[in-house]
Symmetry: C2
Subunit: 428 residues, 2 copies
Amino acid sequence: MASWLPIPKNSPFSLANIPFGIISTKSVSRVPAVAIGDYALNLSAFASSGGFAQLPAIQQHLDVFSQPTLNAFAALGRPVHRQVREYLQNVFRTETQFPEVLKDNAAAQKSALLPLLQVTNHVPMQIGDYTDFYAGLNHAYNIGVLFRGPDNALQPNYKHLPVGYHGRASSVVTSGTPLHRPHGQILANPAATPKVPTFSPCKRLDIELELAAFVSTPNDLGKPVPIEEAEDHIFGLVLMNDWSARDIQAWEYVPLGPFNAKNFGTTITPWVVLIDALEPFRTSGLEPGNRESLLPYLREKHAASAFDIALEVELTNKGGKPTTISKTNATNLLFSFPQMLTHHTIAGCNMNTGDLLGSGTISGTEPKTQGSLLEQTNGKNPLKLEDGSERLFLEDGDTVVLRGVAGSEGNYVGFGDCAGTILPAYPL
Amino acid sequence: MASWLPIPKNSPFSLANIPFGIISTKSVSRVPAVAIGDYALNLSAFASSGGFAQLPAIQQHLDVFSQPTLNAFAALGRPVHRQVREYLQNVFRTETQFPEVLKDNAAAQKSALLPLLQVTNHVPMQIGDYTDFYAGLNHAYNIGVLFRGPDNALQPNYKHLPVGYHGRASSVVTSGTPLHRPHGQILANPAATPKVPTFSPCKRLDIELELAAFVSTPNDLGKPVPIEEAEDHIFGLVLMNDWSARDIQAWEYVPLGPFNAKNFGTTITPWVVLIDALEPFRTSGLEPGNRESLLPYLREKHAASAFDIALEVELTNKGGKPTTISKTNATNLLFSFPQMLTHHTIAGCNMNTGDLLGSGTISGTEPKTQGSLLEQTNGKNPLKLEDGSERLFLEDGDTVVLRGVAGSEGNYVGFGDCAGTILPAYPL
């Protein structure tokens, strides 16, 4: 697919993608947009210029493009998302059926096409609840080995259900938002008796490389979503960095799970890549989605329940050169997002439009393929950065960028940067 | 304090209380209200009739009383809540300074005073995030004994920080909402190898008796709330039943904590009792709030960090007589809500108006003072109900009512009923 709009060959936002987000500029308050090449298409301005006049499916719902979040658009459901995306692909195609809408319409281009460098991105949805799963089997195994040894690395439940926990929605931020190093209780000497914590800034600050899914259509309290319907409740995916304070976590997490170690900030990419855009990259995960070892409520129709998305983690010392510290793939998941969503609702929990589901940390099995520093260094074996410095965990001023992309040059379906910089601990 | 309005002596909503909620009727959509005796005062209608003309503090903010949640009112901050409550106490007092507002104003009474029996209650706030703590020391100890024996009942962190976890906001419902028995994965025979779960409706359905606090004013991401300011971020308290599926919980909870065992429903009372209304009942909790064993960031100015609130749990077999199965007191907490809120923010987590903080299950040390069935029966020693039937856990059709009240007859500051009935599992 070629476009009349110049799109760099390495852009994650090729014509094959068309991800949705929320943007603002100095003169435009938050509005829905799609990213294409180096531009954002302001969908509010585009709709006002009559851009959707040729698309009957959306005529009754044009108000969704004047909302400050994508929730109203997402709630319209997957058939509408699909039609809008395919229509916009048509509009941007060299041989568009609708040249008068944008290609040959200088006024519409001027009002609606904005250089990405000039827009501010925002968390794209009003997030009601955020849940983080633990479906990265290699990560769960690696962490389990560190805590319990290789024979008991995975808990007995691990392969039967997507283990997950409720996270903190309020502190989900968009790429580029700096975060203060968290303070907290830390057990400086775990071997001492009695165990008395100290109070200090986190000394083992880590990242977690994840994918995450936004929920589109809700289900009622008490009514589970069957596995065969679950994918249609998912709007699309983003990349996510689940920043983690390992020393705070180690002290606080028994018996109810991680809390302050995770709730000081979670960074996501601002552009939601629709499941339809990822469909060509569907493939098997670590085990088939229809495996017979699963209880029937979690068994998918097809084996191919993952997406082939190349992932990487880049770490940059303040003022230094970027170092790619990890490369892996989104196939390293044991459960799919539809399985996570169905499991989440099986006891009756209601999902709302805008709810966010994290995959859990995605790690491979080889060196330099892990999605967290803890797995790479075990707090003992430092990583070497390009500028010669070393890292066990993050230092103040470090910037971490996650990237993920499917497809090939000229037709990338990618997420853009998921970036965050660590500020010194907030002075108390 | 006597009122010109007839208030039953045993009403939890005496003139000393004035709790805030959200009501609707057949002809009135959701509006803020206060409960007094057997009536609700519709604050939107009251404001429209000029009821607040004598209260300068609220003049610029009367729109908060036409909102469908209490969030906008709560966000005005504690000094405003205090003035509104005291003004309304004055309006209802026999010797009111403002008889023209309601006492001698038949038209205003007709438009704004509604019998409680004719109104529908709603979840009073838009809840962004819900967090459940574990500050009921006796409960934590009792559960710890069941799982690990008396020598290791409490984890090493327990007395140093308010242990908590993120809960599910979407499924918080108001008193009276029935809930389906949840389905889930259960390990029928924990001793068997390998451990293979079955899928079934929960067989060990339980309650948890808790208090919960709503957040009024927010804090920014990255900026902790100092302990001395924390109480002013709390709007007020409700009673809460944290329904728990013990068999689902036992299988799913390692290593990240409870998930589906808790997220199918959490019931709260609809009337928010302000901290100011509870102030006369302030007393010591299980340990002083300023104890030196706490890290300084959690140390309160004063020892008295709890409230003397009598609590009870009533269980009714379908069509049977109510049985009071537990009586305890809210003093059975090791940490206060200000301590929970400060700890929640210490790593930088931002709290929003409407966030809900649960105390954890409140239990005493004597028989029939525990806040959960698991503690009372251990799944082995049945409770006897008034109608002769027995319970290890809840059966379909059972209704549980939590009640809590401070003060004495004629001046009760109470929460009203926190009620819920268990429906059969939803047919899949």
